[in-house]
């Protein structure tokens, strides 16, 4: 149980819940999410589109859109609860301790300002450089770290290729030497070759700089390659959370199993593509029981009426499923 001790964790999230409040009701986008991250560790956050991955990550930085409300939980960064900081203290945490690589680099860059200025901006905002001009050497260093010639820092985002923009975003995320980098689907909208380059780059930087990385993705192969631990989310809740080997070799949650089955196996070419029938639940009309119950082939009566809680079935392996209680009652304790 040493992994759970707070002093060993760089980041510890406990029972985080985030809602979106709108005219159509309350959308429970993230509910009771707990996980922890050690120095230099990388965690994969996996789930279907709209299952609350990005919302959970934005909650960590307290950057939700106007309708978002963090209603419960703690986010402990080196023992300090980020939810209790005032706005100025939070600004100091952002990027310095925890930075983010955004989904779709074109949108995350201001089209009318040179890329180098936007990277230098992080240094100026955090008083690591007195001016954008003084930040130039560091910006050059950062760009070269991700394989972009420093001379291109005066160019605009539209003069970069898609892969370069994503690499520039990575350089930007590293500007203030943070301990944690959240990579929100860093490879979507890039072709396979560039994807591989970006992932390789991330892996190298993680190793060299000792970064803790949270990789948000729906690509399981990426997770298998890059991450130490995996958190599978379904409909806003934690479905299964464990180290990468357990998830891939002995998945316990029916959703994780279906997800892995749905992944095409290239060694069996005659195999048909498998999918999970049904749709993810609408977050303002959640089923009364388990959120996965309507699509779960193994669901039984209890699943439809009672929400399962997060259970630790083995040291370091958490699952949210009634089956775990039925089949392995001895795991408790």
């Amino acid at each position: 149980m040493a992994a759970q001790a707070p002093e060993a964790s760089l980041l510890e999230v406990r029972h985080l819940s985030t809602n979106f409040v709108s005219d159509e009701g309350v959308f429970r986008a993230v509910e009771d999410l707990s996980f922890h991250l050690k120095k230099g560790e990388s965690m994969g956050l996996v789930g279907e589109s709209g299952c609350g991955k990005t919302t959970a990550m934005l909650s960590l930085l307290r950057l939700l859109p106007a309708a978002g409300r963090i209603v419960a939980g703690e986010v402990l960064l080196e023992g300090r609860d980020l939810m209790e900081l005032d706005e100025a203290e939070m600004r100091a945490v952002r990027w310095r301790s925890m930075s983010m690589i955004f989904q779709g680099a074109m949108n995350a860059l201001n089209p009318v300002r040179p890329v180098g200025d936007q990277i230098g901006e992080a240094l100026v905002v955090h008083d690591l450089a007195p001016s954008l001009k003084a930040a130039t050497p560091r910006v050059t260093e950062l760009l070269e770290m991700v394989g972009i010639p420093g001379s291109r820092q005066s160019q605009f985002p539209h003069q970069y290729s898609g892969g370069m923009r994503q690499r520039a975003m990575i350089a930007m995320a590293l500007a203030c030497s943070p301990q944690i980098v959240i990579a929100d689907e860093p490879t979507t909208a890039l072709d396979v070759m560039i994807q591989a380059q970006i992932l390789e780059l991330l892996e190298r930087l993680q190793r060299e700089l000792g970064l803790a990385v949270i990789l948000v993705t729906h690509d399981l192969s990426v997770v298998a390659e890059l991450c130490h631990r995996v958190l599978v989310m379904y409909g806003g809740v934690l479905a299964e959370y464990s180290d990468v080997d357990s998830i891939f070799n002995e998945p316990l949650h029916p959703y994780t199993r279906r997800l892995l089955e749905a992944f095409p196996d290239l060694s069996r070419l005659e195999g048909k593509l498998v999918s999970i029938p049904g749709h993810p639940p609408r977050l303002n009309k959640l089923p009364p029981g388990c959120r996965f119950a309507p699509r779960c082939p193994e669901a039984f009566e209890r699943c439809r009426v009672e929400q399962p809680g997060v259970r630790q079935v083995r040291p370091g392996h958490w699952v949210t499923c009634h089956l775990m209680e039925e089949s392995a009652p001895n795991a408790h304790g």
Binding site: L61, L63, R91, A92, V93, R94, W95, R96, S99, M100, F102, G104, N107, A108, L109, N110, P111, V112, R113, Q118, E121, A122, V125, H126, S154, M172
Partner: protein, 313 residues
């Protein structure tokens, strides 16, 4: 620094290209340049000093255009052409200064309302609505009557009543910009509201503001002319509106002295048209969505030689 300079020059060059490509913009710019040149060089262009006191005989009043007086004389026997040239100064000063005030107020109100939103934004937009529904002209007349008709008072009055359009355009733009992801990114970076406003929102709003301001110039000039025509102009300087007022109230029409009316009237049209053309072109250059090349360029889209090639298949 050098790079900045190069970039500036590139921007200027591409802006120039857009302007030249648009014939309307070029015409407008030429017209505006002529007007500004006339205003600046008035003492050298005008054959007489309109302020000098002269001795008048009866034949000099509403005298027809002649070689001595290209546009005839007015009710006081003074040269219409000289007054016309000097009058351009008033129109342009009022136009530019008043629209500067409008841009400052409208830009600030729009940025704050759009970016911060909430209660402040609501309050500012309701204030804008109030200014929008008040009929400008009667209010202007009242204010000028109270504060007195000096040149700067007129500029001030036109300025504080003309910012509503700018405010709404800037607000709309700021509203849409603040939802863009690079703003979230800047916030994740640890940037505060004011920083984001200054470095990310403002540079993207500015071109729109400039284009809008040029359009406001023409409105301001029209409003100044209206006030002067109604006799509320600065009595110490003769503007085109003032010339029209004098001609209209002092019998130019019954005397058949069309020159005293046509010259200042055309002057107003000239400057207003110039500003509108330039403003529209700027708007088009800064807001590419207003362009519709895909509709205009149809005939140039296919450039293969000879239609026979296609017909063969």
């Amino acid at each position: 620094m050098r790079q900045r300079l190069v970039r500036w020059r590139q921007n200027l060059a591409s802006f120039g290209k857009t302007l030249v490509r648009s014939r309307m913009g070029l015409v407008g710019l030429t017209m505006l340049t002529v007007a500004i040149a006339a205003a600046v060089l008035a003492p050298w262009i005008a054959p007489y000093d309109p302020r000098a006191s002269i001795r008048v005989s009866i034949e000099d009043i509403y005298a027809r255009p002649s070689s001595g007086h290209w546009l005839g004389t007015d009710d006081g026997g003074k040269d219409v052409f000289s007054a016309f040239v000097y009058g351009s100064r008033v129109s342009l000063i009022v136009g530019f200064a008043a629209s500067m005030i409008s841009m400052l107020i409208g830009g600030t109100v729009g940025l704050v309302a759009g970016f911060y939103g909430g209660r402040i934004g609501n309050f500012l937009m309701r204030l804008t609505d109030i200014f929008l529904v008040i009929p400008d002209l009667p209010l202007m007349i009242v204010i000028v009557a109270i504060v007195g008709p000096s040149l700067w008072n007129i500029i001030f009055v036109i300025g504080i009543l003309g910012w509503t359009g700018t405010a709404r355009i800037v607000r709309a733009q700021a509203l849409s910009l603040k939802e863009r992801q690079f703003v979230t990114r800047a916030r994740a970076l640890g940037a505060g509201n004011f920083y984001i406003l200054r470095r990310h929102i403002f540079p993207l709003v500015l071109p729109l503001m400039v284009a809008n301001t040029v359009l406001v110039i023409s409105l301001s000039i029209l409003e100044e002319s209206t006030l002067s025509f109604l006799g509320l102009g600065d009595p110490t300087t003769l503007s085109w509106g003032g010339m029209l007022n004098f001609a209209f109230t002092r019998g130019a029409i019954s005397a058949g002295a069309w020159w005293a009316l046509v010259a200042p009237g055309l002057g107003i049209v000239w400057v207003v048209l110039a500003c509108t053309l330039v403003g529209n072109t700027l708007e088009e250059a800064f807001n590419p969505r207003l362009q519709s090349h895909h509709l205009q360029g149809e005939d140039k889209m296919v450039v293969r030689r000879g239609p026979a090639q296609a017909a063969e298949e």
